[in-house]
């Protein structure tokens, strides 16, 4: 009975929402309210420059005119752009009479020349940077008030959204390197502007009278706004980086990395064991265990170096050795604790290394052979194409160089195989 009630309640709940006309209506009311609220506070209400300037006819003219990209039209545009009035408009700042011409007309025309996705993204970036330079110039002349900042921020929002859209399309078309280069350029540029604006805005705040200072709280700082944009860009960069990494990862590299994780885990585990050794364990065993652990760590570190120099095959072997050596230590300690028997530590350690080396060789050979028949995916153009191909001969050379220690008589049987097979 109760369950029915709550189930029905949730069903009703999903049916209760704003209708589309309702949502639109109240949205409009809210916008009007926000405008009116600004007026009450002696700020001039303004949504955007485009809607309140006397050049709105230019805006609609532009929309129509851009549809006809004939050669004649382009000539006309170029002539127009190089005329004196256009030049004046091009250098205008927010608040100037000709500024709307710059925003609605000139910049739109400039935008139409950007063809490739990357060019489009860079164009949006340029516009953002232009807005920021305008803001900086205004700030230096103390002409940057809240209303103008509002307008600038709106325009910034428009162009940074367009920028992100273009980057997303680049990502979808798998032009990941372009996406990341463009994004990181933008991030760097924004960081610089953010610092400049922060300094300028601080100066402005210090120079205004105390009452005005209270109004100028952190909410209206452009530098704060920029900082959030920068954070978003960094997130985009990181995501693209992940994608690039995933794409360039070959099977062999993946195996080496996986093995590294396993070895690292094992070494950490064993290190803990060694540090917790009880006092009744013979010092001989303890010393041998620590030495072996050191060896394991060295193998691991060398594996890491090989990984960095992209010798994935050798790295894999080294990580495997590291894991095995660590496991050997563990078993010694366990055996000595459980059995409390004096074990010939040296002989035991040697024999365990020998057994495992054979199995390493077999495992690795399988991986390589399965890769040789298929195509070893060369990564994208930035990596040297020869890297993966030269892995094969290198691996087999390395495998053949592994020395097989002499067979040694052991007094106690120790199981070593379960650690190797992952």
């Amino acid at each position: 009975m109760n369950k029915d009630f709550f189930k029905n309640l949730q069903q009703i709940a999903t049916n209760i929402k704003l209708t589309r006309p309702e949502k639109k209506h109240f949205r409009l009311e809210l916008l009007k309210f926000m405008d009116a609220h600004d007026v009450k506070n002696d700020k001039k209400a303004s949504i955007s420059f485009e809607k309140t300037n006397p050049f709105t006819w230019l805006h609609s003219l532009t929309q129509n005119v851009l549809r006809f990209k004939s050669a004649a039209f382009i000539v006309v545009v170029v002539v127009l752009l190089s005329s004196g009035a256009a030049l004046a408009a091009q250098n205008s700042l927010p608040g100037d009479f000709l500024y709307p011409v710059k925003i609605s007309f000139i910049e739109k025309i400039e935008g139409s020349f950007a063809v490739s996705l990357q060019a489009k993204a860079e164009f949006e970036q340029n516009l953002v940077e232009r807005r920021l330079r305008e803001a900086e110039e205004l700030a230096t002349n103390n002409r940057l008030n809240a209303q103008i900042k509002n307008g600038i921020a709106m325009n910034l929002e428009e162009h940074s959204t367009a920028f992100h859209k273009n980057i997303n399309q680049l990502k979808q078309e798998n032009q990941l390197q372009s996406a990341i280069d463009t994004t990181s350029n933008f991030t760097i540029s924004l960081k610089v502007h953010s610092k400049i604006l922060a300094a300028l805005e601080e100066k402005t705040v210090n120079e205004t009278r105390p009452e005005e200072q209270k109004k100028e709280n952190e909410n209206t700082l452009l530098s704060t706004y920029l900082d959030t944009k920068i954070e978003n860009l960094i997130k985009v960069e990181d995501k693209v980086n992940e994608q690039i990494t995933a794409q360039t990862l070959t099977v062999v590299e993946a195996s080496a990395l996986a093995k590294m994780k396993v070895a690292a885990k094992k070494i950490t585990e064993v290190k803990k064991l060694v540090s917790n050794i009880k006092t009744d364990v013979s010092t001989d065993i303890k010393a041998k265990a620590e030495d072996q652990l050191k060896l394991a760590q060295e193998s691991f570190d060398e594996g890491g170096k090989n990984l960095e120099s992209r010798s994935y095959g050798r790295a894999f072997i080294l990580f495997q050795e590291a894991e095995t050596q660590a496991q050997g230590v563990k078993l010694i300690l366990q055996a000595s604790e459980n059995l409390k028997i004096q074990i010939d530590a040296a002989s035991l350690l040697n024999s365990s290394t020998m057994q495992n080396t054979t199995i390493i060789k077999n495992n690795f050979r399988e991986i390589i052979e399965s890769n040789v028949t298929g195509e070893i995916e060369g990564s994208s153009s930035q990596t040297e194409p020869s890297t993966t191909q030269t892995l094969n001969p290198e691996i087999f050379n390395t495998i053949n160089q592994i020395k097989m220690p002499q067979e040694v008589d052991t007094t106690v049987e120790v199981n070593t195989e379960e650690s190797i097979q992952n």
Binding site: L9, N15, E22, F26
Partner: protein
């Protein structure tokens, strides 16, 4: 959970907040007031008040703030309606889903009954029940909004549920 901790107050940004939360706030108010028109008005007022507050200083958790404002508005309303006369009971409009939502409930009568039951839960329990089962907020979130401990919220929810049980029993 991507909570925009937006301290850059901006008309442009605030409209996005409206786009994101208007349905939720409306739904919450609808269940509290059980009157679509009133819920719409209160929803609008919630956002307007929030905008005015935001002008004075940054707000941390916007969702929590919106629910707080909405809730406070309904408390005032409840105080006005304290004398729950028979007349007012007749005025209760029942289930009003709005023009373009498909009615999936088999029986409108069932929906009306459920709303009535919700309406009869005493206010402090009513609020947490709505927040938990309609707004689907976590206990932690509810505690944050109402300024209570998570424990007392759990207790209130349980008490609300037992009220519901009693009310259902009365309807049988």
């Amino acid at each position: 959970m991507d909570q925009p901790d937006n301290s850059y107050i901006h008309k442009f940004e605030f409209i996005k907040i409206y786009d994101r939360y208007s349905d939720k706030i409306f739904r919450h108010l609808y269940f509290k007031l059980r009157d679509r028109e009133k819920a719409l008005d209160f929803m609008q007022e919630t956002f307007m008040k929030t905008f005015v507050y935001m002008d004075k200083g940054p707000i941390g958790n916007i969702q929590a703030f919106l629910y707080k404002v909405a809730n406070n508005l309904t408390i005032d309303e409840y105080k006005k309606k304290k004398a729950y006369s028979l007349e007012q009971m007749e005025e209760e409009k029942g289930f009003e889903p709005g023009i373009d939502t498909a009615l999936e409930i088999k029986n409108k009568i069932d929906a009306d009954k459920i709303l009535e039951i919700i309406g009869q839960i005493p206010p402090p329990y009513q609020t947490v029940i709505i927040m938990r089962y309609v707004d689907e907020l976590s206990i932690q979130e509810i505690a944050g909004i109402l300024g209570d401990t998570e424990n007392s919220i759990s207790v209130k929810i349980h008490r609300g549920i037992s009220h519901i049980r009693k009310l259902i029993h009365n309807y049988e």
